[in-house]
Amino acid sequence: MARKLMKGCEAIGEAAIKANCKLFFGYPITPQNEIPEYMSRRLPQVGGTFVQAESEVAASNMLYGAAGAGERVFTSSSSPGISLMQEAVSYMAGSELPVVIVNIMRAGPGLGGILPSQADYFQSTKGGGHGDYRLLVLAPSSVQEAVDLMQDAFDLADHYRNPVMVIADGLIGQMMEPVEFKEDRQPCRSLPSKDWATTGWKGEGRPRAIVNSLFLDPNLLERHNEKLTAKYAEMARNEVRVAEYFTDEDYDLLVVAYGSVARVCLSAIRQLRAEGKRVALVRPISLFPFPTEVIERAANKAGRVLVVELSTGQMLEDVRMAVGKDFPVAFHGRTGGNLVTPDEAREKILAQLAAREASR
């Protein structure tokens, strides 16, 4: 298919339709309004249903119902709206429902602002709702990658019977880039039949399907938690996604960044490498599971790490856990909706290279 020029939000919507998702329930919030806008136009054209719910709470529980009935379904929102959905997210994880949730992150906390941010890393990867659960979390750094990850997200959700969250800073949602939708795309994982879904019981053929997260018997609930934990361990083994840049070469500093910030850092790193400075980049694509071992290996080769985020340091904690507490890890973050510029990244990288030199 020919390339189209699309905003991240529009491309995410079209990717869902290409993944045969015919249902969208959501509520408007800046900077992701182009997703519901797009779905409200496109879904009727493909025989789907768009509902603007009365709130994010309602939308997320509509997701629960539709996924429970075995349908592919997704919602999108931005940070405060995602916070409102957290009760249903926990219920969907507990009931093992395959749904896709998109968070086009804006600056917080509270109402915050409407400019880009990556400050919902903790909320997405450590569980914004209650109980022991994990979401598969994917973070695109281009509009094309948002398309690809979005299509994979539906397959992963169905494969693991688990909610998948795609998080992008507001910039990825709002910027336009050329994108391509593959015609012959195959599912990225096997898709088991949804024999557990509530599709109507005819009194025979199979037991009643009950979608539920209530287990009053402590032993049953513990067994359920153990089953979920095993599933998360399987995700951790099989679903790590990461992009590495220049890690095959020699380098004195490893930069770790994701989303649009990784592209800013890469622009700076390419320029610095042209000047003979030895720097490499690891860009986590899956945030849960986190590419712990890749970062540990790449960091050890450099001896020093710089983490750059649009937050006060959230992924930073996972990087620290990957490299151990005595490893030198520096951090640069911007908040409020301010972006890291390539010049700023360059300056921070140069400072770390100088610090490494001085510590020798």
């Binding site: 390339r3 189209k4 020029l5 699309m6 905003k7 529009e10 079209e14 800046t30 900077p31 182009e34 797009y38 136009r41 602002g113 409407i114 400019l115 880009p116 695109p140 281009s142 509009v143 094309q144 990658e145 690809d148 994979d152 507001g170 910039l171 709002q174 910027m175 336009m176 880039e177 050329p178 994108v179 391509e180 994982r189 399987e234 083994r237 099989n238 790590v240 996604r241 990461v242 992009a243 590495e244 840049y245 649009s260 592209r263 800013v264 890469l266 622009s267 700076a268 390419r270 320029q271 042209a274 694509i285 590419p291 071992e293 890749v294 909706g337 301010n338 972006l339 510029t341 390539p342």
Partner: protein, 271 residues
């Protein structure tokens, strides 16, 4: 490309209105004309003409946009200065209107102060955008805009491009589509926009309409993703069979990626 005092740019969101508004008003200022650029985009929060605040100031263009906190908002704010400029006959005015019929509603409120003989209303068309992929869709979009704007579109601007993937053929086929729209609307194609790096690919008289070279001002600080299309997105290998202990590389499906982006060398659009 415009001959009347007030140029109003409408169209699908993402069609290029802001970039054209910024480039055009900076060109007027370079020609020594007093010019005001009114950012009437109440539709989207980022990548508006107000993002070019510093470049516009340096070029001597007056930017009319909300100030203070409201600068960053996507609220329907109509500054008193807008109505004033409609009546101030010694300045050129460029209005950058928000996308689609929804964005056009804001200029409908100006029909009591806009003199029909002073205005040109140009629909910006990029046929690589969703919802304006062909002349049928584009004309339908323009009709919706006209209804909400309470004014007729008086010309179209051919702005078909694919950012870093724009080829001369991209521009040419977009021009053909724009001509078809113009014919159906009984208006002219006012200009054909081309990325300034491709300007040399076209002879001056190739199109009946003027060439308008565009240098992108409103953009991200990092470079285009030149390698994005068709690439894999780091899908790990299929999960191994139970009991099989794979090597670290396979287990983690480590994606080796070469240089993805060309180096950035462009102004920061922070602000």
């Amino acid at each position: 490309m415009f001959t009347r005092r007030i140029s109003i740019l409408v169209g699908h969101f993402g069609s290029g209105k802001s970039e054209i508004a910024v480039n055009y008003s900076m060109r007027l200022a370079r020609d020594g004309l007093p010019v005001s650029l009114i950012d009437l985009d109440v539709i989207k929060p980022y990548f508006r003409s107000r993002s070019a605040r510093d470049q516009l100031a340096a070029a001597g263009v007056e930017l009319v946009a909300p100030t203070g906190d409201s600068f960053y908002a996507d609220l329907p704010i109509m500054l008193p200065r807008v109505r004033g400029l409609c009546r101030q006959h010694d300045r050129r005015v460029v209005m950058d209107v928000g996308g689609d019929d929804a964005g056009a509603r804001v200029i409908g409120s100006l029909d009591d102060v806009l003199d029909p003989d002073e205005i040109e209303v140009a629909a910006v068309l990029n046929f690589n955008r969703p919802f304006t992929a062909d002349p049928d869709q584009a004309v339908a979009m323009i009709r919706g805009i006209e209804g909400n704007a309470r004014m007729r579109v008086t010309g179209v601007i051919a702005n078909t491009h694919l950012m870093q993937f724009t080829k001369p053929e991209t521009v040419r086929s977009g021009y053909e589509n724009a001509c078809e729209c113009a014919r159906r609307l009984s208006v002219k194609v006012l200009a054909v926009c081309v990325p300034s790096v491709l300007e040399g690919e076209f002879s001056g008289d190739e199109f009946e309409s003027k060439l308008f070279p565009i240098s992108r001002v409103i953009r991200t600080t990092f470079a285009a993703d030149t390698d994005s299309a068709g690439g894999d997105s780091g899908v790990p290998e299929q999960p191994p069979a139970p009991g099989f202990a794979p090597a670290v590389e396979g287990r983690y499906g480590v994606r080796k990626v070469g240089p993805l982006f060309v180096p950035a060398a462009m102004p920061d659009e922070e602000g």
